[in-house]
C-alpha cells in the first residue's frame, strides 16, 4: 500500500486519471454519433439548429472546465469567467464581421466604372458595420480586425492580459473568498456596461451579428458549417480536458487543492500562493476565451448582455450541480443543465395545469433551476458527480478498515471519510 501511494506520484496521466480515458472515449463516440445522425452529412435525424445547440453546449462544457479549475480546485469563486468567454467571442466576431462585410462591399463597388480605392473600401466597410450606432469610422480597437491571425491571438491574449492585471491586483492584496467574488463580479458588470455604450467601438447593445456566415464560405451550407464547428468544439473540449487533467494531477494539483483548503498553511510551506492563483486565473481565462471564440460563430450573435454577471453565475451553478473538484463533474453538470434549460425554455416542455395556475416552463424554469441549486448545495454538495462515488464505493467498499480510536466501537476509517 505504501508503494502504491508513492508510485501514484509518477504513473502516466491516463493511469492516474482513469476518468480521462473514459471521458475522451465518450466524447469521441458522441461526436461520431451526432455526425452520423446530423442533417446534411448523415442521416438527417438531428436538425442543423440542434447540432449547433450541441456544439455550443460543448463550448460551455469547456468554459465549465476552466471554472472548475479555478473554483473547484483552487477555491477562487470567480464570477468573471463568462466575461473572458465573451471577450473571446468578440475577438473572433470582429474578424468574422469585418471579413464578410469586406467581401460584400468589394462586390458592390466592383459594379462601379472605376476600381475602388483602399479608402473607399475601408469607408464602405465602416459604414456597413457602424451605421447602426451612427458612426462611420473604425474605432482604434478594430485596427487589426482585418487580420485573422491577429484576432485569433486576441482570443487568448486579451482575456489572459485582463486576468493577469486583475488577478495581480486582487491576489496581491490578498482579497479572498466572497470579497474576491464580488470584485470579479464588479469587473464583469463594468465590462458589460461599457460594451453597452454605442461609442465603445463594438456596436453597443447591437453587438456583433451574422457570425454564423463564414467569409469566403458562402457556398457551404450551414448544415456542413455546423458539423465543422461541432467537431472543432469537441476537439477543443478534449484538449482542454487533457490540459486541465495535466494541471490538476501531480504536485501542481496538490498545491492547488492545498491552497483551496488552507492557503495560509501553504504559504508557511514556502509556496507563493499568489503566483499559483495568478497562473490558474490567467490560464482559465484563456481557456474561457477559446471556448467563447468557438461558441459565438455557432450562436451567430454576441451582445453585451452575454457578458452580464448573471452568465457567470449560471456557470457557477452548472459546475456546482455537476460536482466541484472533479473535471468530469463540471462537464456533466453543464451539459445536463444547459440542455435541460434549452428544452424548458424552448417551449417544448409541456405546461402543467394545476387548476388554479398554469406552470409555463419558459417562466418557471429559472425558479426550478434556483431551487435545484439550493437543494444541491444543501443536500448533495458533491453534485451529480457524487453519484459516481456511490458506484465506486460499491465496487470497492473497503479501502482499509482499522478502528480509528482505541476503544471498541470507535468509528472505523471508512465511516470517518464520509
Amino acid at each position: 500500500m505504501a508503494d502504491m501511494a508513492l508510485h501514484g506520484v509518477r504513473r502516466p496521466l491516463i493511469v492516474r486519471h482513469p476518468s480521462l480515458l473514459i471521458f475522451l472515449t465518450c466524447l469521441a463516440l458522441f461526436t461520431v454519433a451526432v455526425t452520423l445522425l446530423a442533417e446534411g452529412v448523415g442521416m438527417g435525424v438531428i436538425s442543423t439548429s440542434f447540432v449547433k445547440t450541441l456544439g455550443k453546449t460543448l463550448c460551455l462544457c469547456l468554459v465549465a472546465l476552466a471554472m472548475d479549475l479555478v473554483w473547484g480546485y483552487t477555491g477562487i469563486l470567480s464570477l468573471g469567467h463568462m466575461a473572458f468567454f465573451g471577450i473571446g467571442g468578440y475577438a473572433i466576431g470582429m474578424w468574422l464581421m469585418y471579413a464578410r462585410t469586406e467581401i460584400i462591399v468589394r462586390d458592390s463597388l466592383a459594379q462601379a466604372p472605376l476600381p475602388p480605392t483602399v479608402t473607399e473600401i475601408s469607408d464602405g466597410i465602416a459604414n456597413q458595420i457602424f451605421g447602426v450606432v451612427g458612426a462611420s469610422e473604425f474605432p482604434a480597437i478594430w485596427a487589426l480586425a482585418h487580420s485573422f491571425p491577429a484576432q485569433l491571438a486576441f482570443v487568448v491574449l486579451v482575456p489572459g492580459l485582463l486576468a493577469l492585471i486583475f488577478g495581480w491586483l486582487a491576489f496581491r492584496s490578498r482579497v479572498t473568498g466572497v470579497y474576491l467574488s464580488i470584485l470579479t463580479q464588479a469587473m464583469t458588470l463594468a465590462l458589460s456596461l461599457y460594451l453597452f455604450q454605442n461609442d465603445s467601438g463594438l456596436r453597443g447593445n447591437n453587438g456583433l451579428s451574422g457570425l454564423q456566415n463564414l467569409p469566403g464560405f458562402d457556398d457551404v451550407p450551414q448544415s456542413s458549417v455546423s458539423i465543422a464547428f461541432f467537431w472543432a468544439s469537441a476537439l477543443a473540449l478534449a484538449l482542454g480536458y487533457l490540459l486541465c487533467s495535466f494541471i490538476v494531477s501531480g504536485k501542481f494539483g496538490s498545491v492547488l487543492r492545498a491552497i483551496r483548503d488552507d492557503e495560509a498553511r501553504v504559504r508557511f510551506l514556502g509556496y507563493s500562493v499568489e503566483a499559483y492563483k495568478l497562473i490558474v486565473f490567467v490560464i482559465t481565462a484563456m481557456i474561457a476565451g477559446v471556448a467563447g471564440a468557438l461558441y459565438y460563430p455557432q450562436a451567430g450573435i454576441i451582445n453585451p448582455a452575454e457578458i452580464a454577471p448573471i452568465a457567470s453565475i449560471y456557470l457557477a451553478v452548472w459546475v456546482a450541480i455537476g460536482g466541484r473538484g472533479r473535471l468530469y463533474g463540471a462537464v456533466i453538470g453543464t451539459a445536463f443543465v444547459s440542455l435541460l434549460s434549452s428544452w424548458f425554455t424552448g417551449g417544448q416542455a409541456p405546461d402543467i395545469n394545476l387548476g388554479f395556475a398554469v406552470i409555463q416552463w419558459v417562466d418557471w424554469w429559472t425558479i426550478l433551476l434556483g431551487l435545484s441549486f439550493v437543494a444541491v448545495t444543501l443536500f448533495a454538495p458533491k453534485g451529480i458527480g457524487g453519484l459516481i462515488d456511490l458506484i465506486e464505493e460499491r465496487r470497492s467498499p473497503d479501502r482499509h478498515g482499522a478502528d480509528l480510536g482505541p476503544d471498541a466501537g470507535a468509528l472505523r476509517e471508512k465511516e470517518a471519510s464520509k
Binding site: 505504501a2 508513492l6 498545491v255 492545498a258 483548503d261 510551506l269 514556502g270 507563493s272 503566483a275 476509517e413
Partner: protein, 246 residues
C-alpha cells in the same frame, strides 16, 4: 557561537494592547529552546512575527549567516529561507493522502513552473518513506490524512516540518492531545532534530519541557522574564509569581 536568529527590540500592539513589548531573543544554529509563559504572554505572536504573519511596529529580526532582514520578506520567502512552523492545532491537508502531504512539504523547488514539471525522483520517494517511517505513518501513506487520529495528524505535521528540512523549527504545543507514549516519541523526534538545527518549542506542559532538557525562555506580557535551565527559571521569584501561580 554565531546566532541563527536574532530578534531585537521588537514590539507589536493590537488595538492598543501590547502583545509583544521590546522583545529580544536569540537562538544558535543547533540549539533546542523551550518557550513558556502564561496565556497571552505573546508566545504565538512571537512565532507569527518570525514567520512573517504579523508585522511588528518596531524592532529588527535578523536571520542566518547572510543577516537577512526577515521583516522585508513574505511568508513564503521566509519559509524558503529555512524557517518551518508547526501550528498549535494540527493543520494538515485533510483531503490529501499522507504521501501527498509529505511530498508537498518535501524540500524541492517551490516555483509554479518547476512544480508543474515536477516528477518525484526515486530519492524523493525514499525520503517520503523514510519520514513516514520516522513518524510511524509508513503503513498509512495512501490514506487521506483527514482519517488520521489527532495524534497522528500532529505527527504528520511534524513529519512535514522535517520534510521541509528547515534550519529553524518553530513548534507550537507539539504534545497537545497526545497520549504519554506519543509524547515520548515526539520528544525523541524533536531532540533528534535539534542535533542538526535550531528548534524552538512553545509548550504549556512542564513535564514535557523537562524531558526536552534544554534552555528555557519565560515570556511574560510580551517580553522575556527569565532565561536559563528549567531549574534556574523555576526558582526565579518573578517567574514563580507570574507563571507558577503564587
Amino acid at each position: 557561537m554565531s546566532m541563527l536568529l536574532e530578534v531585537d527590540g521588537v514590539s507589536v500592539s493590537f488595538d492598543g494592547f501590547k502583545a509583544i513589548n521590546n522583545l529580544t531573543f536569540q537562538i544558535g544554529e543547533a540549539e533546542m529552546r523551550a518557550v513558556i509563559g502564561p496565556n497571552g504572554a505573546g508566545k504565538t505572536t512571537f512565532m507569527d512575527i518570525v514567520t512573517g504573519k504579523t508585522r511588528p511596529d518596531e524592532g529588527k529580526v535578523i536571520w542566518g549567516e547572510k543577516s537577512q532582514n526577515l521583516l522585508a520578506m513574505t511568508e513564503a520567502q521566509i519559509a524558503q529561507a529555512g524557517i518551518g512552523r508547526k501550528f498549535q492545532r494540527p493543520t494538515v491537508f485533510e483531503n490529501q493522502t499522507v504521501a501527498e502531504n509529505l511530498m508537498l512539504a518535501l524540500k524541492n523547488a517551490r516555483g509554479p513552473f518547476s512544480v508543474l514539471r515536477f516528477k518525484a525522483a526515486a530519492q524523493d520517494r525514499e525520503k517520503v518513506a523514510e519520514l513516514a517511517d520516522q513518524i510511524g505513518l509508513l503503513g498509512a501513506l495512501a490514506r487521506k490524512s483527514g482519517e488520521l487520529s489527532h495524534g497522528q495528524k500532529q505527527w504528520l505535521e511534524i513529519g512535514m516540518l522535517l520534510a521541509q528540512d528547515p534550519q529553524l523549527l518553530l513548534v507550537d504545543e507539539p504534545a497537545a492531545g497526545m497520549t504519554p507514549d506519543e509524547r515520548e516519541h515526539t520528544t525523541e523526534i524533536l531532540v533528534e532534530a535539534a542535533k542538526t538545527r535550531a528548534v524552538v518549542v512553545v509548550e504549556h506542559d512542564m513535564e514535557f519541557v523537562r524531558r526536552l532538557n534544554c534552555r528555557v525562555t519565560v515570556l511574560h506580557e510580551g517580553s522575556v522574564l527569565a532565561e536559563g535551565s528549567l531549574d534556574h527559571v523555576t526558582s526565579d521569584e518573578r517567574v514563580i509569581e507570574v507563571y507558577l501561580g503564587r
